[in-house]
């Protein structure tokens, strides 16, 4: 058994888990954060993407024990209270989801993608960067649209903040 201490969605949590427990199972089964999903066994589908210390990580590729000491954000922790994160809002506005199963991973990947491209995104980049996330419902059309829209919204927001600061 391993002791696992994490900061998840701003809260410090700890527990003990079998050594072989993956981070995704620790989140789902020990912490009850079932928004992070398991869609495959080979780290291909991306339904389990969370942020570990600020980076998008497939939580099925990491042992819970390995993650101990990290700061984790899951889909449940992305919104600011009742206010949706711009990526969440864009997925809704642009119909970027259907069954909703891949959606948490898509949104966590997209958030990370936008953060890594402060210069902005184009369709080709978004499609290339979604390689690790599979959706069977949407044909990606509206997911791409939503990510591009969120990227623009967030860039405007960042500019606005920069202006305020200046």
């Amino acid at each position: 058994m391993s002791d696992v201490s994490l900061t998840v969605n701003g809260k410090r949590v700890s527990g003990s888990a079998e050594d072989r427990t993956l981070l995704v199972h620790f989140l789902r089964e020990h912490l009850g954060l079932t928004g992070t999903h398991v869609g495959c066994d080979t780290s291909q589908c991306g339904a389990c993407v969370v942020h570990v210390d600020g980076k998008a990580v497939k939580s099925c590729t990491m042992l819970a024990a390995q993650a101990s000491g990290s700061t984790i954000v899951t889909i449940e922790g992305l919104a600011n209270g009742a206010e949706l994160h711009p990526v969440q809002a864009a997925f809704k506005e642009h119909h970027g989801l259907q069954c909703g199963f891949c959606t948490p991973g898509m949104i966590m990947t997209a958030t990370d993608m936008i953060a890594r491209h402060p210069e902005g995104l184009d369709e080709a980049t978004v499609r290339a960067e979604l390689e690790g996330n599979i959706c069977r419902c949407t044909g990606y059309h509206n997911i791409v649209k939503a990510i591009l829209a969120a990227s623009e919204t967030m860039a405007k927001g960042a500019k606005g903040k920069a202006k305020q600061a200046a």
Binding site: G39, D41, I75, H95
Partner: protein, 782 residues
């Protein structure tokens, strides 16, 4: 149309929970005392079970039970069945072999469930499953349906000699042969429709809970049709009487057909829960899904199409071998028959059609309906034939189609279907315009200068949706009726709940269905809730598949709304002392037309429940139920155009543009409809370029993970150009046709027509992967 009514692009009500991690899927369910099941599956495609030794597994840590098929049979659990009877042309019924939820004497495909292990944790159950010792005597396997019907092939079920399940025909063989004999031209092709794995992103799962005190079972399951699951588990598998079995299909992460069927695992979880005394949950891992979910397609057809001297089709003869896998899944028999051969007339006037279909057992996963179910196979046959014929006849593909289009309605085809409405040329024109078809020659020349091969292909599909008139399907062998139910409950405060027998697993019913109510009563969409997926809450219903939730499910809601509206008007007329015929309901108010007399909607609702002042003899309450049985199928149709560019050095195909012009009749929420088309196209393009389930000769599935089975990814696809035209469906009150499957039906032939055009070859196998394309280019060179 209001901003939330019919025709509006209303953002989905259900999205909030999905984008915040609040979706509730079966794997998210936790019941106190719940334990975990792991299935021991056959590693062999075909073998006798000689001995099962569970003693070592039973002694493993955390193990609660290790259960076998013998125990299951001893408890009277029945075999799985196929619910659609097909008779061969000699009049004999289809030859259905036994399918035990846990194999007893023999296994027939890799993945066949043999033993279930229940333990405290999934890890412990997995460890114990490894320790179950099963002694097999391996038998020769056969995976190719064309080989399975050869004399001397391994015999899979004693009931089906030479593995032939049925040999069925439809249409006029003599007339078709005569048309071919007297034709000015005959196009001939062998057409293969590759086997696919549906791959809903949520793996199948089941949680069975037996409550001893109540002698009652609850099953949470990943189902597209929980009521049918309850009916079948009760009536055929003897799990429990219907009143003692509650089936809940909560949020379900995609279906595409694969979650219509009742599989062994949910039956076993329910039975194991009683046997072990604990709630039992099973969740498939992805490889398990590949092995044991019902697969789709897998047809091999020999086709002849006859033309007269004016390039008009005079006859179509199709001989198809359909691989149904190792067991007959729930609706497997209707897919290559009544959902396939009945669509072989396509959008064309064809005076004589004959289809012969042989359904065959093989040592592979069961095959059943997958998005489109039979209709993609029919469309692929027809639209590949039309393309090849156009090339042989030296006419443009568009012109050949135009010349043969059905232009007057209703139109009776020679293969059962009576098309009610359509304008096929309108879709063709719209698609050609959107694709700048006229500019293609220049684009091809420009690409050639860069050393690239451009091709363009079209496909004009029709499908039959709105499954289906109950008496019609009953006469064709269906074991169930295909109506739908709805209950509209107006609460005392005026909020409204709609209980529907349809099931949403991505289709957006919670929004689209609510739009109907908003349109009718002018109440805000947030005051309308859609309830589905729970047999304890919702009256019997038939579920969601075959693009039926709009044409059938919503029509039932309309019928119930009619009844509620009529009663509300009676109450309002009484309260306002007006004539019932003068009452109108608008913007949440119930008014007397032409006066300033009105009541807010909620007051009418309240009055119905206080019952202080109702018309004489009226029952209190404002709640109505309706069952809607359609009078005909619906016939969505359209034209898809695909333009590809191939790099001859690598064989890589890039989709330059993909255009879809669909006629779905009236549309309630265009945003959701477009989303359905996008997803369907991605699956169709996946079939054409990327996806294929491959078994080796010994019956091992070589493509059993996302490392091996190529799912379409964002980088494989372009953004799509979609549009719709509208010939309203005359057969239902909303004039809707259905849109869920069109994309998957229309797109594969468009892609392959484009690739063969680019390469200058007659045919190429799906999936046209880079390796296949490259090999085709090089075979042509040498």
């Amino acid at each position: 149309m209001g901003i939330e009514g019919v025709g509006a692009r209303v953002a989905r009500k259900e999205d909030k929970r999905f984008i915040t991690g609040g979706g509730r899927y079966v794997d998210d369910m936790v019941v106190p005392g719940m334990k975990h099941a792991v299935f021991v599956r056959s590693p062999h495609a075909h073998a006798q079970i000689k001995k099962i030794d569970v003693r070592q597994a039973q002694a493993m840590p955390g193990v609660i039970g290790v259960l076998t098929g013998k125990e299951l049979k001893a408890d009277g659990i029945g075999n799985l069945i196929c619910g659609w009877m097909i008779h061969s042309k000699d009049g004999t019924p289809m030859k259905m072999g036994a399918w035990s939820p846990l194999a007893v004497d023999k296994v027939r495909y890799v993945g066949d469930a043999v033993v279930v292990v229940v333990a405290d944790t999934k890890g412990q159950a997995r460890d114990a499953a490894e320790a179950v010792e099963i002694t097999y005597k391996e038998l020769k396997a056969v995976v190719d349906a064309t080989k399975a019907i050869q004399p001397g092939a391994p015999q899979i079920h004693a009931e089906a000699e030479n593995n032939l399940i049925f040999d069925w025909e439809l249409g006029d063989g003599k007339a078709t042969d005569a048309a071919i004999k007297s034709a000015a031209h005959v196009t001939r092709m062998k057409i293969v429709n590759n086997r696919l794995v549906p791959n809903a992103m949520e793996p199948r799962a089941a949680l069975g809970h037996y409550d001893k005190a109540e002698d009652h079972y609850t099953c949470w399951t990943t189902s597209q049709n929980p009521h049918v699951a309850r009916l079948v588990m009760s009536a055929f598998y003897n799990v429990a009487p219907e009143n003692k079995l509650r089936v809940i299909a909560p949020d379900v992460g995609g279906g595409f057909g694969s979650k219509i069927y009742i599989y062994p695992e949910e039956i076993v979880c329910l039975w194991a829960s009683k046997k072990t005394g604990v709630p039992v949950k099973w969740v498939a891992d992805r490889t398990e899904s590949f092995l044991s979910d019902a697969h789709g397609r897998d047809h091999v057809s020999t086709v002849e199409m006859a033309f007269d001297k004016d390039n008009r089709i005079t006859g179509l003869k199709v001989d198809t071998i359909a691989n149904l896998g190792a067991y007959m899944s729930l609706f497997s028999s209707c897919v290559p028959t009544y959902l396939y051969a009945t669509l072989l007339s396509g959008q064309y006037n064809i005076p004589a059609i004959h289809a012969n279909v042989r359904a065959v057992y093989t040592n592979t996963a069961p095959v059943d309906a997958y998005r489109g179910a039979g209709r993609p196979e029919a469309t692929y046959v027809l639209e590949r034939m039309m393309e090849t014929a156009a090339r042989e006849l030296g006419v443009s593909p568009a012109e050949l189609r135009r010349r043969n289009f059905i232009t007057s309605f209703p139109h009776q085809t020679p293969v059962i279907m009576a098309y009610d409405a359509g304008d096929y040329n309108a879709s063709l024109e719209a698609a050609m315009k959107a694709a700048d078809y006229a500019g293609f020659t220049k684009r091809r020349a420009d690409a050639a200068k860069q050393g690239k091969l451009r091709g363009i292909g079209m496909s004009c599909y029709i499908e039959a949706c709105g499954l289906a008139p109950s008496s019609a399907v009953g006469s064709l062998g269906a074991g169930v009726g295909l109506w739908e139910s709805a209950e509209v409950r107006v609460n005392a405060v005026g909020t409204i709940e709609v209980l529907t027998g349809s099931h949403s697993h991505g289709q957006g019913h919670e929004t689209t269905f609510a739009q109907l109510v908003t349109q009718r009563f002018g109440v805000p969409i947030d005051s309308v809730s859609i309830v589905h997926g729970d047999t304890d809450k919702v009256q019997m219903g038939m579920g969601t598949y075959g693009s039926r939730s709009g044409a059938v499910g919503m029509s039932a809601i309309v019928k119930a709304l009619d009844k509620v509206e009529a009663k509300a008007k009676k109450i309002a007329a009484h309260l306002l002392e007006a004539d019932e015929g003068d009452i109108v309901i608008e913007n949440g108010e119930v008014k007397v037309a032409g006066t300033d007399k009105s009541l807010p909607w909620f007051q009418v609702a309240l009055a119905s429940y206080t019952a202080h002042n109702l018309p004489a003899g009226m029952e209190p309450g404002l709640k109505e139920t309706a069952f809607y049985d359609p009078s005909n199928f619906t016939f969505p149709a359209g034209c898809y155009i695909c333009e590809v560019e191939i790099d001859p050095e690598t064989g890589l195909t890039e989709i330059i543009q993909f255009v879809a012009a669909d006629d779905f009749g009236n549309i309630i929420n265009p945003m959701i409809v477009e989303g359905q088309v996008h997803g369907g196209i991605a699956q169709g393009v996946g079939q054409a370029l990327l996806e294929g389930a491959h078994y080796d000769a010994s019956g091992q599935l070589l493509t059993a993970s996302y490392m091996d089975y190529t799912m379409p990814r964002a980088g494989d696809l372009p953004s799509f150009k979609v549009s719709t035209s509208n010939t309203p469906c005359p057969g239902n009150p909303l004039g809707v046709k259905g849109c869920g499957e069109a994309g998957a039906i229309g797109s594969p032939p468009a892609v392959i027509n484009a690739i063969t055009d680019a390469l200058g070859v007659v045919d190429i196998a799906m999936p046209a992967s880079p390796a296949t394309v490259w090999a085709t280019i090089h075979a042509k060179k040498h």
